[in-house]
């Protein structure tokens, strides 16, 4: 069993990553060398990309804090109305595809035809468009709106978890409200805040989709986009490997710090006892607070995706909105009329389902080993299952190309290599859910079955898996949604022969076919939503469960432990 797990993890993640390291030491003549690393200091393109990545990352951390902290405080510690709604939408943002949102923002704030820009120009009689989304600022803006949940979720969990006695003790000693906030509340949530910021930093430095879409027109390159250009013809794989290695090291170090800070504690939004803590009464301050939260929801969800929906019904981008520019099905017909897209749909479905199931199988095996065997190596399993978090999609993609694209495997441009990529990247999240679920099931319920004559296999089928169902469904649902529109790795592994919906969408955007982009985006989002709703229904229908628990299950599904989803 242990051997099966080791082999699976090696094939999915270990071997490709080892190949990246190996390749970085290979000279042109095939010998071993360190000279590749000299490129890091000499190649101006690389230096600029690293600088840009850091710049984007720092800006996004700041932006996420500006959005996430007030939102956390408003929703947890004040009497602002609609707190649950705002909290839910933050969680929803987390599952929304940021590169699709970036496409929406191109339509809204593009310098030439952006709808918001033209509207503002006509209202105020401006000569030039006031905003340009194709700038580093635009990238930071879009990323902040999508990564702030990484700050919001841990911080609001920490705020909720504070023992109210801590603050009451300070207040009883005469501390003012502000002093309590500064001397007690803030230090207690500081680890969560720093941990969240690290996740935002790492995610934004290595994210591909939005940066590629918004940076491409001006040639603004960050690490992942440079990596992609290095992998394209003529490929310079060893250079790509050389950049990947320090990135891996830095990310691993940052994630270790982040783990230390959260101390292995799981952040979940549920579970707090409502009304336990002192609630700040905002009074008239309620209105700006609500306005702020509404603005966050509108900017992160309503406007970009709404714009794509609207665009999907337009005949031409250049002409203004209006009935004569309306087509209900035209763009959709065009999108689905193309065999490439039909094939991509099929591929994405198959890959998302396949990757989800394989990841579930590996995660089940791993958590069974951890919970039901007593080997000393079990701690390694937990660490190894979380390891893919530290590998950016770009690096994992490069590793897979080095490892499997050429002979003897010859998997370049196949669906199989995408399946390997998807499965590997789905492991951390899947394992987090399955492992937690398994921890809830005592060994005794399995032993009871064994002692009544059921074999190991029957015990799994009749007892363990049914009891794990909520965790399995939650993990499966989330992974399906994330994998269905996976871009970060797919774009590296795409050769034209293995299209997925995300790569097709990306190519449509590169060709500026925005009505089709809109139509395809809407379809992808619809599929995501339908899958989510259906899965929630399934989660709700649980015989023999107390209604309280079954109602909670779907919210568990959405409360991604943020560290797992970076």
């Amino acid at each position: 069993m242990r051997l099966v797990w080791v082999l699976a993890l090696l094939a999915l993640v270990g071997y490709p990553i080892a190949q990246v390291f190996g390749q970085s030491f290979v000279a042109d003549d095939g010998g071993l060398t360190l000279s590749n690393y000299a490129l890091l200091g000499t190649e101006p393109l690389l230096l600029e990309a690293i600088r840009n990545s850091l710049w984007i990352a720092c800006g996004t951390v700041l932006g996420s804090l500006l959005i996430g902290l007030p939102l956390a405080w408003f929703t947890v510690r004040t009497d602002m109305p609609m707190r649950r709604f705002f909290r839910g939408s933050a969680v929803l943002t987390f599952a929304a595809p940021s590169f699709i949102a970036a496409l929406g923002w191109v339509l809204l704030l593009g310098p030439r035809n952006g709808v918001l820009n033209t509207t503002l120009m006509s209202i105020f009689g401006l000569e030039e468009s006031p905003f340009d989304i194709f700038t580093p600022w635009g990238i930071i803006f879009v990323l902040s709106l999508f990564l702030y949940p990484l700050v919001f979720l841990p911080v609001s969990a920490a705020l909720e978890g504070i023992d109210p006695a801590l603050e009451q003790a300070a207040a009883s000693l005469g501390a003012s409200r502000w002093r309590v906030l500064r001397t007690v509340t803030f230090p207690v949530i500081a680890p969560a805040l720093i941990a969240g910021s690290i996740l935002v930093f790492v995610s934004s430095a290595i994210i591909f989709g939005p940066v590629a879409i918004l940076g491409a027109p001006t040639g603004f390159q960050t690490i992942p986009t440079v990596l992609l250009s290095l992998m394209q013809f003529p490929p310079r794989i060893e250079v790509a490997a050389v950049i990947s290695v320090p990135i891996l090291v830095i990310i691993a170090a940052l994630l270790l710090i982040q783990r230390k800070l959260v101390g292995g504690r799981k952040f979940t939004v549920i579970g707090g006892k409502p009304g336990r803590q002192d609630v700040t009464h905002l009074g008239a301050g309620r209105y700006p607070a609500v306005a702020f939260c509404v603005a966050v929801v509108v900017l992160s969800l309503v406007m970009p995706f709404g714009m794509l929906l609207v665009t999907s019904f337009r005949k031409a981008l250049g002409r203004p909105l209006g009935w004569d520019n309306f087509t209900l099905t035209g763009n959709y017909e065009e999108v689905f009329g193309r065999p490439l897209i039909a094939a991509a749909m099929g591929n994405s479905f198959a890959l998302a389902i396949g990757g989800t199931l394989l990841a579930l199988a590996v995660a089940l095996l791993a958590s069974w080993l951890v919970h039901r065997t007593k080997a000393r190596s079990n701690a390694v399993i937990v660490g190894a299952m979380a390891a893919p978090l530290a590998f950016p999609g770009a690096v994992l993609g490069i590793g897979l190309i080095i490892a499997y694209a050429a002979q003897p495997f010859g998997l370049g441009g196949t669906l199989t290599i995408l399946l390997i990529a998807y499965t590997g990247s789905a492991l951390p999240l899947t394992f987090a859910y399955v492992h937690a679920g398994m921890g809830q099931i005592g060994a005794e319920v399995e032993e009871a079955s064994r002692s009544l004559g059921a074999s190991w296999a029957r015990t799994w089928r009749r007892i363990t898996v049914p009891l794990l169902r909520p965790s399995l469904l939650a993990a499966g649902l989330l992974n399906f949604v994330l994998l269905f529109r996976e871009l970060e790795m797919s774009v590296f592994l795409y050769t034209g022969a293995n299209p997925t919906v995300a790569t097709v969408l990306y190519n449509l955007a590169s060709e500026s076919l925005y009505q089709r982009v809109g139509a395809l985006s809407v379809v992808i989002l619809l599929i995501n939503i339908v899958v989510t709703v259906v899965a929630m229904r399934l989660l709700d229908r649980k015989p023999g469960e107390s209604p309280r628990r079954s109602r909670r299950s779907p919210s568990v599904a959405l409360n991604t432990p943020p560290e797992e989803a970076a």
């Binding site: 005794e444 004559g453 009749r462």
Partner: protein, 394 residues
């Protein structure tokens, strides 16, 4: 007929042996209770019998068939043993009927057969009518009954119960205790029962096995183990007791050992089973609080003492009594009618048959009392306690 035999059973977790060369044989239809504090290895023993753990050494045989031994391990599902767990381990996704019917269903019994046996088992634990509920809709006592029914429905060769009552409150625990006793009597099923509760152990056992640090320290009928504990550990494991130093004040005979207790009390105790004593020896004795009789009297007589604490419990009174020559007060229990007050002078009387010579001295067992026994023991000059003999006997 000998049913289950454990021989030299040993299991370690890491470096520490948890079960250390346990030998035990269990007769058909017998109820054997393993008693001991947590960590003494009793649950690990049970889990090895059930097949959840593999022994490191030793052998388990059931009806002359080897279940576990060198190069032999029968998995739990082929051992025909049913386990009742402390946590009940009911499956929350199955109804009561499905839980109980799991065994017969797994054995591919016909639908009608499953139904008949399930109903029978539920009737046996008096739960008919609740078959369609789920575990979380039942009280703790009902859940335990379901767990019991689920175990009994398979007609097991051996019923294993692992602290089944410790999650219940006192009243339910008493009720379930007699329930288990009744079921054992009416079905005649062979039963191994693990507990740390002496009341459960004494009332349920045909034979009591006291364990300490992975070893069996005493085996016997409950009354015998209670009355004649061989070590101070066993004496205390079976309830409150007084452990006192005593001197053998005459030649022992098969009829009894003359002893002088602190306070000048002299008694003739039954001879210990496996410790040889002779006149002049220093020994340790165990006397239960209920066996110390207090009478009002003056201080010149032997056994003169003074009440230093009296706790009223309604049906009885617990006393702490200061006896000259003892650092610690004695525990005594008396009737609540005609009770004594704190500070009152009393005379302690002991019946010789209630005195058990234990194989290890108070020096090894009574904390805060080691090394300084004033009075006669210091003059006797003998070794303080025959502890080594007692240890090797265990």
């Amino acid at each position: 007929m000998t049913h289950l035999v454990l021989s030299g059973l040993t299991k370690s977790f890491g470096a520490a042996p948890v079960v250390d060369h346990v030998d035990l044989s269990i007769e058909e239809g017998e109820a054997v209770v393993l008693l001991g504090p947590s960590g003494c290895g009793k649950t690990t023993c049970l889990r090895m019998i059930a097949g959840f753990e593999r022994p490191d050494a030793g052998e388990i045989r059931l009806r002359d068939k080897v279940l576990a031994g060198p190069r032999m391990f029968v998995p739990p599902e082929r051992r025909q043993m049913s386990v009742v767990f402390q946590s009940y381990a009911l499956w929350p996704h199955l109804s009561v009927r499905e839980n109980v019917g799991y065994g017969p269903t797994t054995a591919k019994a016909s639908r009608a057969e499953v139904r008949r046996r399930t109903d029978e088992a539920l009737a046996m634990v008096q739960l008919d009518g609740l078959a369609d509920r789920y575990a979380h809709q039942l009280s703790g006592g009902q859940q335990q009954r379901v767990a019991l029914a689920r175990a009994l429905v398979n007609d097991p060769a051996l019923l294993l119960l692992d602290e089944p009552l410790s999650n219940l409150d006192t009243r339910l625990r008493e009720e379930m205790r007699s329930e288990i006793k009744r079921i054992h009597r009416s079905l005649g099923v062979t039963m191994v029962y693990v507990t740390h509760d002496q009341a459960e152990a004494l009332s349920l056992a045909d034979r009591l096995v006291v364990m300490h640090a992975g070893r069996v320290v005493q085996v016997g009928a409950p009354e015998e183990v209670y009355r004649r504990p061989r070590t101070s550990f066993v004496a205390r494991a079976l309830g409150a007791t007084n452990l006192l130093p005593a001197t053998v004040c005459g030649p022992p005979s098969p009829d009894g050992v003359p002893l002088r207790l602190p306070g000048g009390i002299t008694v003739t105790a039954p001879p210990p089973a496996d410790v040889a004593v002779q006149a002049g020896d220093e020994v340790a004795v165990s006397i239960r609080p209920v066996d110390l009789r207090l009478t009002s009297g003056t201080s010149s007589a032997a056994g003169a003492a003074r009440v230093s604490e009296a706790l009223f419990f309604g049906d009885h009174v617990q006393y702490a009594v200061d006896l000259p020559g003892l650092a610690e007060p004695l525990k005594a229990t008396g009737p609540s009618l005609g009770r004594f007050d704190v500070g009152q002078d009393v005379v302690i009387e002991v019946d010789g048959t209630a005195v058990a010579i234990v194989g290890d001295g108070p020096a090894a067992s009574v904390p805060g009392d080691d090394g300084h026994h004033p009075g006669p023991s210091a003059n006797a000059g003998a070794s303080p306690a025959p502890a080594p003999a007692g240890r090797s006997a265990a």
